[in-house]
C-alpha cells in the first residue's frame, strides 16, 4: 500500500517510477501485478479523440457604454449567452450560422483559432436595459484580451465505446465517420489500453479534483460527466460498451494547439479533438492489475449504425487488439478497420505526461471524492406520444405489377388508380423494382416496351417496423415521392408517399404533438 502523498514525495525527489499504460501492460504480463505494484508508482494514460461535448466559458469584459449580450457570435458561430452580461459558452459542436460555412467552421474551429492566438470577430446583440444601454457591438478579440477562457467539457473520455459498421446499401455519414455500405468498413474510437478510464475501471483513484493533462495544460476533473453510467456489462472489470465519462475543466490560455484540434465529421458536424492524459497512482496490487490491462482483454461491441434506433443491433464482439490489427472478420468477410481517435497522439500524450512527472513538474492530487462506480444507469428519453410505426399506417390495398407486364397495361393501372408509383414484384410478391408515371412517360417517348428496362431496380424502401419519422428523413434525403413498404421477407405490403407523411405530420400538429 502506497499513498498519494508518498508518491508525490518521490516525484519531488525525482525518484518516482513512471511508466505509460502500454509499458505497464508489459510489466504486469511479465512480473505479475504484485511485483508491478512494488516497482511502479504512476501509470500515465492518454487519449486524443473527437469529443463533441466540449466547450468553454468566455468572459469578454465590459464595453463602454456597456451591453448585456443576448446573442453572441464569434466568427459567425453562435454562443450561448443566457448567462450574465458579458459571459457566454461556446460549444464545440455548434455549426456556423452561415450555411455556406455551416459544418466546416463551427465552435470547435473558433476554440482552436483562439488557442492559436488568432484574431476573432465578435458580434453581439442585445435588447438594451437601463444599466446596459448598448444594443450592438462588433469588434475583434484575441484569447489574450479575454478575462477568462475556461474550457469546461461536460462529457469527455468515454470509458470504452461502440464500434461502428453499416449494414445498409447506402454510405452513412455519422459521428463515427463515414461508414461504407454492406459492412464495408469498421470505425472505433477508444484508445484501448492507453485510454484513461479503462485503466481505472472502478475509479479507485479518479475523482473530483484529480489533476489531469488537458490539451497541453493542467486541467481538473470536476466530477462525473453527463451520461456517466456504471452498471453495465463488464469483462475483466472493464465495461464492454460506453460507460463512465468525465467533466473536465482547464484554462484555455495555457493550452497548446498541438493537443487539441477542430474537425468536421463529414455531413455530421463540427467536433473537437481533445487530448487528455490522466496519471494513475499505483497505490496497490489491485490498481496495478487494472492498469496492466491489454488491448486483447478489452472487449467491445460492433454495432450496426444502419439501424437508426436507440438500441442498435450488436453484430459481434471484438477487442482492441483485433481492431488495431487493421481488419476484423464480419460474416466471414475481412473488413478493414479505422480508428477515429489518434493512437499516435494518445501515445505522445501519455509520454508527455510521464516526462512532466519525471521532471517533478506535475504532482498528483488526491480527489475530494471518487467518481461514482455504481448506481448509475442510463435512462432513455421517454416520448409521451410514441413514434408511429410504418405498420400502423392505414395503407390502401397496394397495386403492383410484374416484370413481364406490358408498359401499356402498367400505364392503365397508374391512370385508373390515380397513383404515381407502382412496385414491381415477382410471383411471391417479393419486391423487384419500382416504376413511376414519369418512368412510363419516358419509356413511351423513347419507344421502350420492356418494363425491365424502365423500372428502378435499386429501390428505396420503408420497413414495416420503422418509425414514420425515419422514413420521412429518407424521403427528404433521397428527394423521392414514394416508397414501397416491405416486411422482413421483402414482400410488398403497401406504399407510403410524401403526401401520406405530410398528412400525418399535419394530424400530429393538430393534436399538439411534436413535428417530425
Amino acid at each position: 500500500m502506497k499513498t498519494i502523498n508518498e508518491i508525490n514525495q518521490k516525484i519531488k525527489d525525482g525518484d518516482a517510477v513512471v511508466v505509460t499504460a502500454s509499458e505497464m501492460t508489459e510489466i504486469v504480463a511479465e512480473n505479475g501485478p504484485k511485483e508491478a505494484a512494488r516497482e511502479v508508482d504512476v501509470v500515465t494514460t492518454g487519449t486524443f479523440g473527437a469529443m463533441c461535448s466540449s466547450g468553454a466559458f468566455l468572459n469578454f469584459g465590459h464595453s463602454d457604454p456597456p451591453i448585456k449580450m443576448a446573442r453572441t457570435y464569434l466568427n459567425g458561430v453562435e454562443l450561448y449567452s443566457g448567462l450574465a452580461a458579458v459571459d457566454a459558452y461556446i460549444g464545440a459542436a455548434q455549426p456556423n450560422k452561415d450555411p455556406e460555412l455551416g459544418l466546416d467552421y463551427g465552435g470547435a474551429h473558433v476554440i482552436e483559432d483562439l488557442i492559436k492566438g488568432e484574431e476573432i470577430e465578435l458580434v453581439a446583440e442585445a435588447y438594451g436595459t437601463d444599466c446596459y444601454p448598448l444594443k450592438h457591438v462588433e469588434t475583434l478579440i484575441t484569447l489574450d484580451k479575454l478575462n477568462q477562457a475556461i474550457m469546461v467539457n461536460p462529457r469527455n473520455c468515454y470509458q470504452n465505446y461502440a464500434v461502428a459498421v453499416n449494414s445498409t446499401d447506402e454510405t452513412l455519414y455519422t459521428y463515427m465517420g463515414t461508414l461504407l455500405p454492406n459492412y464495408g468498413n469498421v470505425t472505433y474510437s477508444s484508445a484501448g489500453e492507453l485510454s484513461p478510464l479503462i485503466n481505472d475501471p472502478y475509479f479507485q483513484t479518479i475523482g473530483f479534483g484529480t489533476k489531469v493533462f488537458l490539451c497541453g495544460a493542467e486541467g481538473y476533473i470536476v466530477g462525473e460527466g453527463t451520461q456517466h453510467s456504471t452498471d453495465v456489462e463488464r469483462r475483466h472489470g472493464v465495461p464492454t460498451t460506453s460507460a463512465g465519462t468525465l467533466m473536465l475543466k482547464g484554462d484555455m490560455k495555457k493550452m497548446n494547439p498541438e493537443f487539441l484540434r477542430a474537425a468536421t465529421m463529414p455531413k455530421y458536424g463540427p467536433t473537437l479533438y481533445v487530448g487528455v492524459g490522466i496519471p494513475i497512482p499505483v497505490l496497490n496490487e489491485d490498481i496495478a492489475a487494472s492498469t496492466g490491462i491489454s488491448d486483447e482483454d478489452i472487449t467491445c461491441k460492433v454495432v450496426d449504425y444502419g439501424v437508426p434506433r436507440r438500441e442498435r443491433p450488436v453484430v459481434k464482439e471484438t477487442n482492441y487488439k483485433e481492431l488495431k490489427s487493421g481488419k476484423i472478420e464480419i460474416n466471414g468477410m475481412e473488413v478493414p478497420t479505422s480508428p477515429l481517435s489518434s493512437l499516435k497522439k494518445a501515445r505522445i500524450i501519455a509520454e508527455e505526461l510521464k516526462k512532466l512527472i519525471e521532471k517533478s513538474e506535475f504532482l498528483l492530487t488526491s480527489p475530494i471524492y471518487r467518481l461514482p462506480s455504481r448506481g448509475y444507469t442510463l435512462r432513455p428519453l421517454e416520448i409521451r406520444k410514441p413514434s408511429i410505426l410504418v405498420r400502423e399506417l392505414e395503407s390502401k390495398p397496394v397495386i403492383v405489377t410484374h416484370p413481364d407486364e406490358n408498359i401499356k397495361e402498367v400505364a392503365r393501372k397508374l391512370v385508373e388508380n390515380n397513383i404515381n408509383h407502382i412496385p414491381v414484384v415477382d410471383e411471391e410478391g417479393i419486391l423487384q423494382g419500382i416504376v413511376t408515371s414519369w418512368d412510363i412517360a419516358d419509356a413511351v417517348a423513347k419507344g421502350k416496351t420492356s418494363l425491365q428496362d424502365v423500372m428502378t431496380k435499386k429501390v428505396i424502401i420503408a420497413r414495416e417496423d420503422e418509425p414514420v419519422e425515419v422514413v420521412a428523413r429518407r424521403i427528404d434525403k433521397y428527394d423521392i415521392s414514394g416508397l414501397p413498404i416491405v416486411d422482413s421477407d421483402n414482400k410488398v405490403k403497401g406504399i407510403i408517399t410524401a403526401e401520406d407523411i405530410s398528412r400525418l405530420v399535419g394530424k400530429k400538429m393538430d393534436r399538439g404533438g411534436e413535428s417530425i
Partner: protein, 128 residues
C-alpha cells in the same frame, strides 16, 4: 506510369485506347474517367515493356498526356493521424506505420477521393 489523358471533343469517338493496347504490349488501367461531349479526361496507369512507345503513340493521336507523380497529398501538419481515412481506401493505399503515423502511398492511390472527402481535419488534397 500514372497520367491524366486529355481528349479533345474531336477525338472522343475514336478508339485510340483499344488500338494502343492492341499495338503495344502494355497493361492499361483506367483509374478514373470523366468524359463529356465537350471532351474529357482519364486517369490511367500504363505499364509494360513498351510503355514509352505506347505513350508516344497516344500523343501522336492528339491526346494530351500529363504524367503525374502524385494523386493525393497529405498535409503532415494538419493531419492528426487519427486513421479515419484508412478503412475507406478501396485499394489499401493508406496504412498505419509502426509508430501509428498514417501514410498514404501515392503509387497505389487511384485518386477516388474517398479519403479526402471524409478526413475530419481536411488534411488530404486530391490533385485534379
Amino acid at each position: 506510369m500514372k497520367a491524366w489523358l486529355r481528349f479533345l471533343p474531336s477525338i472522343i469517338g475514336k478508339a485510340i485506347i483499344s488500338e494502343t493496347i492492341k499495338k503495344y504490349d502494355i497493361e492499361f488501367n483506367i483509374l478514373r474517367a470523366h468524359i463529356t461531349p465537350r471532351g474529357g479526361k482519364m486517369l490511367v496507369e500504363i505499364s509494360g515493356p513498351e510503355e514509352k512507345e505506347s505513350i508516344k503513340f497516344i500523343e501522336e493521336q492528339g491526346i494530351e498526356v500529363n504524367p503525374i507523380i502524385k494523386v493525393v497529398k497529405k498535409d503532415k501538419d494538419k493531419c492528426i493521424d487519427c486513421g479515419a481515412c484508412i478503412s475507406l481506401c478501396p485499394v489499401k493505399a493508406i496504412n498505419m506505420e509502426e509508430d501509428w503515423t498514417v501514410e498514404i502511398d501515392d503509387q497505389i492511390c487511384i485518386g477516388c477521393g474517398f479519403c479526402a472527402k471524409s478526413c475530419p481535419t481536411k488534411s488530404i488534397i486530391l490533385f485534379e
